[in-house]
Amino acid sequence: MDLYFWVFASMSVLAGLFTIAAKDALPSAMGLLTVFISLASLYLHLHAPLIAIFQVAIYAGAILILVVFVIMLLMAPGERLAAIQANVSYRGSGALLGMCLIGLVLVGTKGVSDIVSMKALPEGFGNPSMFGDLFFRDFLLHFEVVSVLLLVALIGGIYLCKKKL
C-alpha cells in the first residue's frame, strides 16, 4: 500500500472533479491548480523531480495564470458558469468524451503494464543533465521539430488576434 501515491492520486481525482463541477470560474481554475500540484507530487514520487518542477513552473505557474488572466478579463466577479453548465448538449458531449478518454487510458494502462516491469532506475535518472542529453543529443531533431511547430502556432495566434498587422 503506497500511501503517498494514494493520497495524491485521490487528491488529483477529487480536484479534477471539482474543476468540472465548480459553479464559478476561478474556483474551477483553483481546482485545476490542485490537480497540477498533486500530479507534480506524483512525479516527485516517481523520481522525476525535473518533470515535477516543470509541471509546477509551466503548467501551474504560466499556463494556468494566463487562463486565470483571461477569466479575469472576460468575466465579472459575480458571474457564474451555471448557464454554460446547464447546457445539456455540452454535458452530453462532455460525458461522451470523458468515457472515450477513460477507455483510452484503460487500454493504454494495460498496454504499458504488459511491456513494462519493475526495474531499477538508471543512475542519475531525472537529472537535468540527463534531460539535456536526451533533448539535445539523442532526440535533437524531434525537439527542434516540435519547437518549430510551436513557433508556427505562435505566429498563427498572433495573426489571428491582431486586427491590423
Binding site: 476561478l26 518542477i53 505557474g61 486565470v68 479575469m72 478579463l73 459575480g78
Partner: protein, 346 residues
C-alpha cells in the same frame, strides 16, 4: 533517525529565522524610511521602537476579521494563504551557510540541496501570484481586480527575464544546485576578481535584480498595490491577520530574494580574497559562514528599503514595455554572449 532530527531542526530553525528577519524587516522598513525622510519614525515601543513589529502583530491578530458581504468567501479566505505559503516554502533550497560538523556528522547549512533548486525557486515563485489573484478577485472590488490584473500581467512578464537571467548563471557554473554554485564562488579569477557571480554575469545580475524587484512587487514596480491609483490594489478589502499575511509574505519574499542574490551573485558565504574556512574550526566556520551570509543578505534587504523610498513608481504600460522590450532582449543577449564565451574558452 538522526537525519530526520537534523532535517526537522533545519526546517524549523530556518523557518523561524526567516520569519524573525521578516519581522525585523517591518521595523527596518519604517525606521529606514524615517531615516531617509528626515523624521523620527516609530520610536515609542521599546528601545528605538524595536517592539513596534510586536505591537503591530498584536494589533493585526486582535482586530476583527471582516469578510465583505459580496466577497466570494472561499477565494477571499484562500488568497492570503496562497500568497504566504509559497513565500514561506521558497527558502527551502537557498543555503544559509557552508556546513557544520557536529559529532563527526557533516551537516550542510541548507534545508535541501536538490539538484533542481533553481527551478524550484522559479516554480514556487510563480505560485505566489495566485494569492494575489484570488485576493483581488474574491474581494469583489474593482480596485482589487485592477490590482490582481496588474499583478498577473507583471508577474508573468517578469518571470521570463528572471529565468533567462538565471540561465546565465547556470551556464557559468554548470549546475542547478544553489550549494554547488555557492561552493564554486570561492577564490579569484583573472588574478584579482573574486570568483563571484556578479563579476562573471554583471548584466545578468542587473537583469535579475530588476526582475526580482518586479516579482516582489516592490517600488518602483509596486503597481499591484499602488496606493495613490488603486487604493491598495489586491488587498484593499483585507484587514486583520489576513492583511498581515499578505504584508508578512511580502517581507519573507524579500528575504528569499536577497538570499538568492547573495547565493548566486555575491559569493554566498565566501569572503573575497580570503578563505576563512581554512583557518577556522568546523563548528566556528559554520557559524561564521552563517553570519557572513546574513550580513550580505541584510545589505540587500536594506537596498529594498533604500530603493523604495527613493524612486517613483512606473506606470503599467511602462512596466510591460520595460519587461518585454527591455529586459527580455537584454537577457537573450546576455545568454548569447555567455554561451559564446563559454564555447570559446572551454
Amino acid at each position: 533517525m538522526d537525519d530526520w532530527l537534523i532535517a526537522i531542526i533545519k526546517v524549523v530553525g530556518i523557518w523561524v529565522w526567516v520569519l524573525l528577519i521578516a519581522v525585523v524587516m517591518t521595523w527596518v522598513e519604517r525606521r529606514g524610511a524615517a531615516l531617509i525622510q528626515d523624521r523620527p519614525g516609530p520610536n515609542r515601543a521599546g528601545p528605538f521602537g524595536l517592539f513596534q513589529p510586536l505591537a503591530d502583530g498584536i494589533k493585526l491578530f486582535t482586530k476583527e476579521e471582516i469578510i465583505p458581504t459580496n466577497a466570494q468567501k472561499l477565494l477571499y479566505i484562500m488568497g492570503p494563504l496562497l500568497f504566504s505559503l509559497p513565500a514561506f516554502s521558497a527558502y527551502a533550497v537557498v543555503p544559509f551557510g557552508d556546513k557544520i560538523i557536529l559529532g563527526g556528522k557533516e551537516i550542510i547549512l541548507q534545508v535541501s540541496d536538490v539538484n533542481v533548486g533553481f527551478l524550484y525557486i522559479l516554480a514556487i515563485g510563480s505560485m505566489g501570484v495566485y494569492g494575489v489573484i484570488l485576493g483581488g478577485w474574491g474581494s469583489n472590488n474593482k480596485y482589487s481586480i485592477l490590482g490582481g490584473l496588474r499583478s498577473t500581467a507583471q508577474m508573468v512578464s517578469y518571470e521570463v527575464p528572471l529565468g533567462l537571467a538565471l540561465l546565465g548563471i547556470v551556464f557559468v557554473y554548470g549546475t542547478f544546485s544553489l550549494r554547488d554554485i555557492s561552493l564554486a564562488q570561492q577564490g579569484t579569477f583573472l588574478g584579482f576578481l573574486p570568483n563571484w557571480g556578479i563579476f562573471k554575469q554583471p548584466l545578468g545580475f542587473i537583469l535579475f535584480i530588476v526582475a526580482a524587484y518586479a516579482e516582489a512587487n516592490r517600488v518602483p514596480f509596486d503597481l499591484p498595490e499602488a496606493e495613490s491609483e488603486i487604493v491598495s490594489g489586491y488587498h484593499t478589502e483585507y484587514g486583520s491577520m489576513r492583511l498581515g499575511l499578505y504584508l508578512f509574505g511580502e517581507y519573507v519574499n524579500l528575504v528569499t530574494i536577497s538570499g538568492i542574490i547573495v547565493a548566486l551573485y555575491f559569493g554566498s558565504w565566501h569572503m573575497p580574497y580570503i578563505d576563512l574556512g581554512a583557518y577556522l574550526g568546523p563548528i566556528s566556520w559554520g557559524i561564521v559562514s552563517f553570519c557572513i551570509f546574513f550580513l550580505k543578505v541584510s545589505f540587500f534587504l536594506w537596498m529594498f528599503v533604500w530603493v523604495r523610498w527613493t524612486l517613483p513608481r512606473f506606470r503599467y504600460d511602462q512596466v510591460m514595455g520595460l519587461g518585454w522590450r527591455g529586459l527580455i532582449p537584454l537577457a537573450l543577449f546576455n545568454i548569447f554572449i555567455t554561451a559564446l564565451f563559454i564555447q570559446l574558452t572551454v
